[in-house]
Symmetry: C2
Subunit: 419 residues, 2 copies
C-alpha cells in the first residue's frame, strides 16, 4: 500500500514549526508495511487543501491529512475534505457531548466555536481522541480509498495514530509485520555495515535500516509478509543472526536509551552514583536524572567548572592540576575518585575536556575529553577526541561516559570493538 501524507498548516509552511508529525507517521507506518510515496505540505486555505487532496487521491492508495481540525476560523480542513469527497458535514451529537464532557472536566470555558469540532463528514467513522478534543476521522472514499484526518497537535496525532491508524491499516493491508531495533554505540555506520555484510536469502522479506545519531547507530529490522508464522520465523532468524554479528556494541533494544540501561544496572547492583563534571557542565547529571525514579541511585553531582571547585569539592591535588593541567587523565581519575569518596557512594564518574570553540592546543585540540570511572570494580580512565561544535562535543562526551559506565559495570572491555 502506497500512502500520501498531507500536512496542513501555515506555521509549518513558514518554517517556524518543524513538522515532526510527518516523520513520526512515516516511521510508525513501516510497522504496517505501508510505504509513504509522497508528502505534501500546504497552508490553511480551502483551495490549497482541496488541491492537495485531489492530487493525493489520484496517486496514492490512501491519504492521511494532519492539521486544521481545531475550532478557530483558520481550521478549514474538514470543510475542504467534505467538499472534495462529496460528503456534507453534519453535527454529530455524541461527538459534541464528548467534547463538552471533556471541557467540563477541565473546567474550561467553552466558546461556541468548539462545536465545529463535532462537524463530521457523512458516513465517516469517528475515532475518539484519548488526549484532546478533536477526534480522528476516517472516510473510505468510493469504498476503496481511506482518507484519514488527524489533528496537528503532536501528542494528539501520535495517540490517535498508535491507537487507531496503525491497527486499521494493518488490518487493511492484511500483511503481517514484525520489527525490532538493536541500538549500538561506539562504531561508525560504515564499520557496522562491513561487519553485517549483505543480508542473505534467509532474510527474505526483511529490510535493515541504519539509523545514525550522536547517540550511536540504531539497527532497525522490519519483516513483512502475508503469512504470520513465516514472518515470525524470519524475524526470529534475523534477530539471532544480527545480534550474533553486532552483539559487542549493542547497548539496548527497542527504544530504551543509555541512561535507562545504566540506571537499571546501578539499581541491580545496589549502587549509588556521584558525577564530577567540568566540560559537560552538568549534562551527565541531567542525563542520569532524565529517568523517572533516578533518585534511587543518583546521589549528587559536582559541576566543578573552576579549578578551585575541583580542589575544594573533590579533593583534587592542586599540584596535580599544575603538573598535568585540568584537562588530563590524572585529573579525570582524581575527579571520579573524589566524587565517589566525598559522596560516600559506590560509583564516581569524572569528565574533563575542551568543548571549544576556544581553549584547544596542539597536544589537546578542541574535542579532547578525558573520562574516568571509579567503583568497586576498579578504576579506569580513557581519552577521547570528539568532532563537532561545542554542543556536539558535550553531547557526545556525555553519551560516551554513559557507555563507558555501562561497560565498566558489566565487566566488558571499555573500548567498543568487534575484536
Amino acid at each position: 500500500m502506497q500512502i500520501e501524507i498531507v500536512t496542513i498548516g501555515n506555521e509549518v509552511l513558514s518554517g517556524r514549526t518543524i513538522d515532526t508529525n510527518f516523520a513520526y507517521l512515516a516511521r510508525l507506518l513501516e510497522e504496517a508495511s505501508v510505504q509513504v510515496a509522497w508528502h505534501t505540505t500546504c497552508g490553511d486555505a480551502a483551495d490549497k487543501i482541496s488541491e492537495a487532496l485531489t492530487r493525493a487521491l489520484a496517486r496514492a492508495d490512501a491519504v492521511i491529512m494532519t492539521g486544521g481540525l481545531g475550532p478557530t476560523p483558520d481550521d478549514v480542513t474538514r470543510k475542504s475534505v467534505a467538499t472534495v469527497l462529496g460528503r456534507p458535514l453534519s453535527l454529530e451529537e455524541n461527538v459534541l457531548a464528548s467534547i463538552r464532557e471533556r471541557i467540563a472536566r477541565y473546567k474550561w470555558r467553552m466558546p461556541k466555536s468548539v462545536e465545529s469540532m463535532a462537524l463530521i463528514p457523512r458516513g465517516a467513522e469517528v475515532w475518539t481522541n484519548p488526549v484532546g478534543a478533536a477526534p480522528g476521522i476516517l472516510i473510505v472514499h468510493k469504498d476503496r480509498q481511506p482518507v484519514i484526518l488527524l489533528p496537528g497537535v503532536p501528542h494528539e496525532m501520535e495517540a490517535l495514530a498508535k491507537e487507531f491508524v496503525l491497527p486499521y491499516l494493518r488490518a487493511r493491508t492484511g500483511r503481517a509485520v514484525e520489527t525490532f531495533t538493536l541500538r549500538t554505540y561506539g562504531l561508525a555506520e560504515s564499520i557496522l555495515h562491513e561487519r553485517i555484510g549483505v543480508l542473505g536469502d534467509s532474510w527474505s522479506g526483511a529490510s535493515l535500516a541504519y539509523l545514525p545519531s550522536w547517540f550511536g547507530v540504531d539497527l532497525r529490522v522490519t519483516v513483512a509478509g502475508r503469512d504470520v508464522a513465516a514472518v515470525h520465523d524470519t524475524a526470529l532468524r534475523a534477530y539471532n543472526e544480527l545480534y550474533a554479528r553486532v552483539q559487542p556494541v549493542v547497548y539496548s533494544e527497542g527504544s530504551r536509551n543509555m541512561e535507562e540501561v545504566v540506571g537499571q544496572q546501578l539499581q541491580e547492583l545496589g549502587y549509588r552514583i556521584a558525577t564530577a563534571e567540568s566540560c559537560t557542565g552538568g549534562l551527565l547529571a541531567k542525563r542520569l536524572t532524565d529517568v523517572a525514579g533516578s533518585s534511587r541511585y543518583v546521589d549528587r553531582g559536582f559541576v566543578t567548572y573552576a579549578n578551585e571547585a575541583k580542589v575544594e569539592l573533590l579533593g583534587v591535588d592542586p599540584e596535580m592540576l599544575a603538573a598535568h593541567g585540568a584537562v588530563s587523565e590524572a585529573v579525570a581519575g582524581a575527579m571520579a575518585q573524589g566524587a565517589r569518596e566525598r559522596a560516600r557512594v559506590d560509583v564516581g564518574v569524572g569528565i574533563t575536556g575542551i568543548a571549544g570553540p576556544d581553549g584547544g592546543s596542539e597536544q589537546k585540540p578542541v574535542g579532547t575529553v578525558f573520562i574516568a570511572v571509579s567503583s568497586p570494580q576498579g578504576d579506569a580512565a580513557r581519552v577521547h577526541r570528539f568532532f563537532g561544535t561545542r554542543a556536539t562535543v558535550r553531547e557526545r562526551a556525555a553519551q560516551c561516559a554513559l557507555d563507558m559506565l555501562r561497560r565498566h559495570l558489566s565487566g566488558l572491555p571499555l573500548e567498543p570493538s568487534f575484536e
Copy 2:
C-alpha cells in the same frame, strides 16, 4: 512571488531523517519576501521527481529542489530535471576541474562517479559550493520560472542558499525586506496578542508572527516593499511601537538566548555564580555552560539530588528539611544561599521541585517548582507550577530560573507582567 520547495530523498520520506532543510529555506526566503506556497517530498526515483517538478511548475512562480545531486546511482535529480525542462546534460569542464581540485586538496580518492556532479543542464548557471563538491544549479525555465537545484547536505544547502539563492531572489522580486525579532518570556501568546492588538495602518507592509516555544514567545516582524527607504521607516516605526508595548517581557532580540543574556549580565557586574539543583538535575548548570567562555562567570554547580547532599554540600538545615520538606520555598532559599556561601561567589540559585511523573501530592502536584536567588541585590524565592512531562517541567524550570536571575540582576519585578 510564490515558491514551491521540493525535497528529494528516500531517507526523508521514510521518516528516518527529519527535513530541516525545508524549514531553513522557508525562514530564509521570508527575508526576500518570498512565500512558500507548497512543499512536496518525494523519493529518489526519476518518475517521482519528474512528476513533482511538473506539478510545481504548474502552480508556483519558482521552484527550489534539494537533494539527489550527489555522485551515487540513487542521485537522479539532475537527469530528471534535464528531461522535464528539455535541457540535456553536458559535462562542464570548469565544474569538473573545481571538483577535482577540491578532492585533491583533501587528499581523497576520486571515484569515477564523482564526474557526474559536473553534468549540468544546458544553459544553466552554476553556483560554486563553498563547503562541498556538488554545485548549486539555476535554470530559468522559459525565461521566466527559476528552477534552483541545491544539494541535500544541510550545511552545503545553507551555504548556497545564503550566498546565492537569497540575493538572486531578492534581486528578482525587486523587493526590499527588513526583519527583526523580539524575544519574550513569561506570558502566553494570547496575552501578548491582547496587549499588542491589531496592527495599525502605520504597519503597512509589515507582518507580525508569534513563535511560541517553551523558551517563551518570539515576536518576529517582517517588512517588505518596493522602496528601500519606506521599508526601513516602517521597520523602525514597527520596532518602536512593538517594543513600547511588550518591553516589560522582552529578554533579548534576534537569536540571542537567555543563557547568553544572563551570562553577559554576570560578566558586566563582575559576578561569579554557583547553582544548586535538585529536580533539574544539572540542567541549569548545563544551560549556563552552553555558552562559550562561561568559565569567566560560572564557578561551580551542586546537583543535590539526595537530601544528605543538600545538608552536606549546601548546609541546608536538616530540621528545615524535616519541617518544610525538600520541595519548599525555605529549602530553595537555603540552597541558593548555601551555594553562594560555600562557593564564596556573588550569586547563588536554588531549584527544588517535583518533575514527575511520581512524587506529586494534593498540596504540591507534579510540576511544582521552587526557585530562589541570592545575591548582593538581595534574596528572593518564588513558586511555579509547570505543565507537561518530566522533560518539559525540567526544561521550563531551567528557563524560568534564568529569567528570574535576569530580572533579579536588573532590578526588575520578578513576575513577568505588563502592570
